[in-house]
Symmetry: C2
Subunit: 346 residues, 2 copies
Amino acid sequence: MVTIYDIAAELGLSTSTVSRSLNNSNDVNKKTQKRVLDASCKMGYTSNLLASGLRNRRSNTIGVIIPRLNSAFMSGAIAGIENIINQAGYNLVISQSLENVGREVSCTESMLSNRVAGLIVSLAGDIGSSDHFESFEKHGVPVVFFDRVYDNEKYLNIQIDNFKAAYTITDHLAKQGCREIIHITANRLHTVYQHRVNGYLRALENNGIAFNEKMLIKCDLSDAAGKTVAKQILSMGSRPDGIFSANDVCAIGCMTELKKSGISIPKDIAVAGFNDDPDCCLIEPNLTTIGYDAFGMGELSARVMLEQLSDSFAIPARYSVFMPYHVIIRESTKKEKIGLLQFNAI
Amino acid sequence: MVTIYDIAAELGLSTSTVSRSLNNSNDVNKKTQKRVLDASCKMGYTSNLLASGLRNRRSNTIGVIIPRLNSAFMSGAIAGIENIINQAGYNLVISQSLENVGREVSCTESMLSNRVAGLIVSLAGDIGSSDHFESFEKHGVPVVFFDRVYDNEKYLNIQIDNFKAAYTITDHLAKQGCREIIHITANRLHTVYQHRVNGYLRALENNGIAFNEKMLIKCDLSDAAGKTVAKQILSMGSRPDGIFSANDVCAIGCMTELKKSGISIPKDIAVAGFNDDPDCCLIEPNLTTIGYDAFGMGELSARVMLEQLSDSFAIPARYSVFMPYHVIIRESTKKEKIGLLQFNAI
DNA sequence: TTGTATGCGTTATCAC
DNA sequence: GTGATAACGCATACAA
């Protein structure tokens, strides 16, 4: 491969001048620079980022660790991150923790070995220690968390207010006349889900709905789990009239199965999800849900990262950013009787 | 950061011995190795892959370039690739070309700069020159294409037989009694789509169905495009009784819109897609489609890559692998009259 | 089995 | 504005 030595030899210059030209330094004659750039082009020069990274003691790569790459939310967030990061001249390394803390740890080790300039993370499902992020902090490598974050102010967190969102959507169900609203949540209570549970509970309380443990169903929030939950619900003594699932996938699995068994939605049971997956508008009736801007969240995470990267001497910021979210009300929670009530109320 | 110098100094050894120990070389005393490993652990050593890569003249990273990260197919394929690649001790860099050849080119440049050990690619939408892959070949960096490949035997291609698959599903539509089957394809005819068109045409021919240009509709295969196509179809003089879309997303968009306008599927129009997205089982009626193993295709691509990587002195292989596919017949193409015919035939 | 010495390609410091 | 030189951390050819 062509190196700066080759270019230097070709033009009778030193490698320093070539390097300066290539890096668009001010300390170089513009004409010389042009000669170098032309030659590098002609000779097919490709910069060696490994050498450059070694010399600079860090690569020009930003690492991303996410639980999984298989949701509209995640691919949207990645697209947002990539958009900002690439513009800034960085590359992206993406790794999946597969919802597994062990894998997350080895991902961080690999990122460390690759001397990433920064790390953007959405945490694996379990709540675990954050030890594996400490070496980054120790070596001045900024870490930004998004969506699934640690529940403390020690880190840079980009998220939505899950408590409020869950509160609002549960409250909506109650206002639609639901009196027995169950909540489907993750079996491993990551803070994200814990906050949603809390919001749900508060909404029940404020609407004078009594809560008992049977109303909280834990599963892995998959489509299959949703179907299983539906069967559970069908066999319940007193059947709920509202379901709030902590994600859309599970809500949709559940709905599909309920429909199969002749349950009418929202008449018999109103259903709400979380995330605003595209599938919400595919299932019939369309699914009420919480929507938030995945692409924007990715972009913001990346921007915060770049900010950290630029003033490396500044005290590392420690704060949480809450992104906006909105409740998207669709047919799956529009109970007809309520429609009438609302009509009368006008 | 701790380096092998630090470990060497700590133990009174040379860096070569430390390096050998860390790399599990045979030329080192097992006891010495253990001392080194213990010390490296205690001291919190993290190998510097930039230095190692510079020395070895290539990184331990495999690059992946794909059009977009937003489909079940792609995330499945990526998961498959990652599964194999990680086991082999490599890392993955993923980049999206966003269906744009220009971006694809800059992705390859960045991969080259990062001195990736190999490159796995699914091509951007357009047919373009393959010049940007030549430098890899020139420098002995293996390139494996999957799904969207160049239409020649010059490269390593992992794909399905799109001609046959399209033939089979079109033939199925014809056998269900459809006499005017339209085909929705991409407006930029990548080979993948060209082959599907060809299979479609052959099936028409073999079923004695006349073809005219109006039966071939070109669009970007998005959900929105599907809806637009539906409106086109509704305004056609002679309405088709069968639709074969080159992907599911578009088929589903189209179906949704047709249903809204009171078209009964499959009675009025039978619809078939391609890919077996999970949404095929969400839309009603469920969508007939072509299914193939995304995860397996990813794994195979990665395996072929590793094979190339291992015998670097072998002549680079040049061949195409065709993965199995299967036609998945669901309600969207089961015309009732045919059901009766089949019943009578028993 | 271990150590010495060198180079991978780049950038930064210093001198001119 | 340019050049000589050293150093980044590691791996290997060669010597011992």
